[in-house]
Amino acid sequence: MPREVVVTGLGMISPVGKNVADGWDSLVAGRSGIGTVTRFDASDYEHPIAGEVDDFDPADYVDAKLRRRIDISTAFAIASAQEAVADAGLEVNAERPGAVGVLLGTGIGGGHLMVEQQRILDEKGPRRVSPFLITSMLPDTATGLVAIALGARGPNFAVTAACATGGAAVGEAAETIARGEAEVMIAGGFEAPLQPIFYAGFNAMKALAVHEDPTQAVRPFDQDRNGFILGEGSGTLILESREHAEARGAEIYARWEGAATSNDAFDMVAAAEDGRGINEAMKRALDRADLTPARIDYINAHGTGTPLNDRVETRAIRDVFGEEADNVMVSSTKSMHGHMMGASGAVEAVICVLACKHGIAPPTINYTTPDPDCDLDYVPNVAREASIEYAMSTSVGLGGHNSALIFGRWGGD
């Protein structure tokens, strides 16, 4: 029998707030965290829009030596892991260091140092390249560093599945506990895509939203949506076996109910029009959780704001939920924090946990003109109080990756 897995700690650094409390307040208030790009000189772009974490200083989280050696994406990961570990009151037991593992995902990994190092390589030669380049660019450096900081010696690796990364990482980490291989997993996703070359790459894909007012640029499910906006940050969950959490008297936020990943097997960029990939992940997650669609009260959708994604996702929800589709609240918080790539699934998992705990569904902002192809209850513009027994988070990524996660309200039973 798989063991029960609960959530005992949360960390979130995002464009809507540098910690869980500030972020949740912004989301419930419907406040956008989207603005103009300041991370690099983007003046060549007509609409340089992004979701940046304001006033983020890695020095607040790591010492000066380490700060110089790691990518900002890794700093995001460490910062939100610290918040989650503190929130959970977690201490790694020196006698059982292998009981705590770390599984953090990122879509891109660290690229900031690479640009600079590429110039050094080109101009000064290979022998001048930094000895820290390798660890700054490998996507799994954050999992290693979080483990080192805590002394957590359990299962340790990163997961990548493009924009479905965070959800996939949280799901795989939960399964590690469910099968008894760890008692606690520090799980999540992080990303820092606001780098000139990646911004240029996404811009070349013609996938980025364009709008005169950055705060109105991301308009998931709205008729006038025209793309997504890149965001940065990190989300972390402390997942724990129920037994372990109760034994140490930890406060429990919610129960992890199930997860699944799937692939469209269709195209490296576009989602399959019939939603056949994401619907597969949703169905499998429901199976794993042993729940019927009618039990789900809230879906935190992938909802990027691209014309194709939102239409396909709506169709997939209709396909999986049937008549129940009209009774489930569906919102895209990307309307406020943007598309945080590999961090999205994890940040949205944090949001689902909070939605269950507080009984509030955060809204989809910038929803003004209904699209006949997107005809669900998107919780438009204003947060809604409602009892949320079960919440689902869905993510869809380049390369056809999909993930779905389900959390349940903690009632102590």
């Binding site: 000895p131 660890t135 996507p139 290693g144 070359i197 469209d264 990524g397 380049l398 390369g399 056809g400």
Partner: protein, 414 residues
């Protein structure tokens, strides 16, 4: 529900010693060297000018031109290795697409594409950067493209744990099958890290051998006293893992059974292994426990054996920690002595090698082990291939960041 047994029904390999499984395996048995001067990029000014390249690999033998152009070399290699493994297993993916998933690990993804695009960016400006940069660079694209190509729609991610990436992908796929989330998995690892930035960066981290650029034949020398670092290489390895029931129902060839997987973290240092190989020992122990066998049941260990001074010493200690007095009786060899270090592909290629060893009851030797190191005093099979009775075999992978992963395979019997 009983936990399903998991078997291997296909192996694919693209390595510096052979384009394909059988070619690679024969080369390894013959003790053939795969390390040579770098040809993929300009290397004259690099600290290390030699590497293991899959020299006769032609992407368009496996892919049409248009698809090939939109994939990085690490994806080309993975697609080719997956084709080979699928062909051997005879698995019809389209017939049950939802029941078949794909997990292919990669340590550094499309770094070659990124370097090319950096130059476009520097020389021609942001507006000329390719729309395919992101989808070609991100490291999950091997799993993504193999799914698109084969139609596999089940569980699908990429695991990244530096040099243990491929092994963790296989371990994760194994667990997916054991928990009933799929009936078959296309799994493995791939990396195409023979690029200027990658060589320069690994050299700067002092992990690469730089002392034998003029003697590539003898540069990768795991467990030898005169080893001075690893040799960068590229390649891909894939397995078809399947539940026993599923494999038997369709009458598939069963090459071996997979019985154990353990992962651990050193929680010690970003680039150095933990003192005494403590983390590696823990991964092996977890895998042995899961396999429910004693250390003395193990007939062969395919070592991580990178040829760096620290790795080989600590790995030796970790084997002694786990196997105690029996350690000296277990034959251990390092495929990296011939292939070099293929980064995220290493664990997967070596899993394939371990399975071939079980099938043939024959193991390859460790090449270039000429001067014994008193700190590495186990049986590394220096003389070359040897016939060995193997019931259980272990494949170890250890990565930068302190990731350790151990896989256990068993000779198949009902």
């Amino acid at each position: 529900m009983d936990t399903p047994r998991v078997v291997v029904t296909g192996v694919g390999m693209m390595t510096p010693v052979g384009v394909g499984r059988d070619a690679s395996w024969l080369s390894l048995l013959e003790g053939k060297n795969g390390i040579a001067p770098i040809t993929l990029v300009e290397a004259e000014d690099l600290p290390s000018t030699i590497a293991g390249e899959v020299t006769d690999f032609v992407a368009t033998d496996f892919l049409n031109r248009k698809d090939a152009r939109r994939m990085d070399r690490f994806v080309h290699l993975a697609v080719a290795a997956s084709d080979e493994a699928l062909e051997q297993s005879g698995l019809d993916v389209h017939a049950e697409a939802e029941e078949i998933g794909c997990m292919i690990g990669s340590g550094i993804g499309g770094i070659g594409t990124l370097e090319d695009q950096f130059h476009v960016f520097f020389d021609k400006g942001a507006s000329r950067v390719s729309p395919f940069l992101v989808p070609m660079f991100i490291s999950d694209m091997a799993a993504g493209q193999v799914s698109i190509r084969t139609g596999a729609r089940g569980p699908n991610v990429n695991t990244v744990s530096a040099c243990a990436s491929g092994a963790d992908a296989i371990g994760t796929a194994f667990e997916v099958l054991r928990r009933g989330d799929a009936q078959a998995m296309i799994t493995g690892g791939t990396d195409a890290g023979v690029t200027r930035m990658s060589v320069a960066a690994f050299a700067a981290s002092r992990a690469l051998s730089t002392g034998r650029n003029d003697d590539p034949e003898h540069a990768s020398r795991p467990f030898d006293l005169e080893r001075d670092g690893f040799i960068l290489a590229e390649g891909a390895g894939t397995l078809i893992l399947e539940t026993l029931e599923h494999a038997q129902e369709r009458g598939a060839p069963i090459l071996a059974e997979m019985v154990g997987y353990g992962a651990s973290a050193d929680a010690f240092h970003v680039t150095q292994p933990s003192e005494n190989g403590e983390g590696a020992a823990r991964a092996m122990r977890v895998a042995l426990e899961k396999a429910d066998i004693n250390a003395s049941d193990v007939g062969y260990i395919n070592a991580h054996g990178t040829s760096t001074p620290l790795n080989d010493k600590f790995e030796t200690m970790s084997v002694k920690t786990v196997f105690g007095e029996a350690a000296g009786a277990i034959p251990i060899s390092s495929s990296k002595s011939m292939i070099g270090h293929t980064l995220g592909a290493g664990g997967a290629i070596e899993a394939g090698v371990t399975i071939m060893s079980i099938l043939d009851q024959r193991i390859h030797g460790t090449r270039n082990l000429i001067v014994p190191d008193p700190d590495c005093d186990l049986d590394y099979v220096p003389e070359g291939a040897r016939d060995v009775p193997i019931e259980y075999a272990v494949s170890n992978s250890l990565g930068f960041g302190g990731h350790n992963s151990s896989l256990i395979f068993k000779r198949f019997s009902e």
